[in-house]
Amino acid sequence: MHLPGGPTRNTKKNPAELNLTEPAPVRWFLTAIALAFLALFLFVPLAAVFVQALEKGTEAYLAAIAEPDAFAAVRLTLIAAAVSVPLNLVFGVAASWAIAKFDFPGKSLLITLIDIPFSVSPVISGLIFVLLFGLQGWFGEWLSANSIKIVFAVPGIILATVFVTFPFVARELIPLMQSQGRDEEEAALVLGAGGLKSFLRVTLPNIKWGVLYGVILCNARAMGEFGAVSVVSGHIRGATNTIPLHVEILYNEYNFTAAFAVASLLALLALVTLAVKSLAEWKVRQQISAE
């Protein structure tokens, strides 16, 4: 099999020299355009975040991050992620076990339902919780009678985050577990392991890279969610602002350096996410091809 970069002269009379890739000038041209496009839309914005953040020096950078409101935003973001990621992890594992290891009618409908938060606008994701728990909502009167605040308070933010990050783990695990089939678990059962034991000792080691991949994506989305949380939060500084909302406030106050300083935290998280994602993807691909 010829690799790209091989013979490009098209002498059709000689079957050994096949025309399997574009002539070199065309290759250079296409590569240049592709790289220009990717550079314009990926590299430049990524670099801009960090350059803008450090424009006024590292002291200003650290001061912006240590500021009390920023600190509160970081804490709230971490809480929202710490609640939604484990919840969605448990759900993802349960759902993919049910979907991948069993056959039942309505399976594609269930998979589509799980995919819904993925395709719904973030603003609508926040709106639905305002409709349910806001003052005019279905449960609004009951909640205010018992002075429970959900919308415009931390629980609402957590709910919205759970909704938008809901599909991530399941979406990764379902195809992975489907490609692994039922063989090994059934063999474990035959050998006398109970359900839980065969899950812990046989299934989990097989899906661990898929779980990592799903968790890291879920976490990135949980910490970075903006639209849905913006609708639900009430934007109360120091109380109901997550990191993305705090970035918005700083930016709208023309405090650009501080905005980018806080934003760079999220950009760093994105880079870590990408690195772990590449690693986990590679391992999962290894696993699937070894089946």
Binding site: A34, W97, S119, G181, G224, S230, P244, L274
Partner: protein, 302 residues
Amino acid sequence: MGGRYAVLARSTCDLVRVTEREKHRMFNSAGKRNVLPGFGLTMGYTLLYVSLIVIIPLSAVFFKTASLSWEGFVEAVGSARVLASYRLTFGIALFAALLNSVFGLLSAWVLVRYRLPGKRIVDALVDLPFALPTAVAGITLATLYAPSGWLGRFLTPFGIKVAYTPLGILVAMTFIGLPFVVRTVQPVLEELETELEEAASCLGASRLQTFTRVIFPVLLPPLLTGFALAFARAVGEYGSIIFIAGNMPMVSEITPLLIITKLEQFDYAGATAIASVMLAASFLILFVVNILQWWSRRYSEK
């Protein structure tokens, strides 16, 4: 790794290894029940969670909209400002998805077929719009394309304004849709058999003919899927766009922003009505994507 049971299980598997298809045939014809435990528990939990988190909240939108009279609904979703926002949002999203299709196909081609130094890093960075929070993307793009920004300053002499105009919305929508086409086309391109190209070349096709007649038809289904996904994402996007858009009603106001504006004015019914239109559009796109994926599976299983 994985302990005694895993090792034993795997070696038992090797002893009784049958192909997936044969196994299915075995089970279906023999009518055997699935012996794996835990169906009740996992299925029950799954259905409960999906109902609580997805079905009930979403149905609130439709019930609230249903409480509007027909005239009220039409007025809420058909007023001039709302229609302008539909035209803007869906129109620019379409254009952005087209841009992403062309350049995404090109990028996937270059990443799969050509040698590049640092290709692994470029490939990993393609997912940046996926991993980067939308607010960060929003303020970055707005700053870059502002008249005095790194990129905006090259365009100002030509009188081209990007920030705070629909052109800025196009830039933002292209950014967030970028990974979709690349990631749907890449696996198909990687698995493409070069035998087909070799055969075409043997039979006298020029490189361009080989591409248009042999390669491109195979890439069309994933390309369309990526296009639809990028379109759906761009239509619903909020955070990346509102910083660089002008947000002026009738000119550069996207529909998600209009929903939030109505919410802030406590016009819950109006906001919900517009949201239900957007939801209907999202479901339609989701349906189309499922059909496309079914089509491309059939195509590749020939």
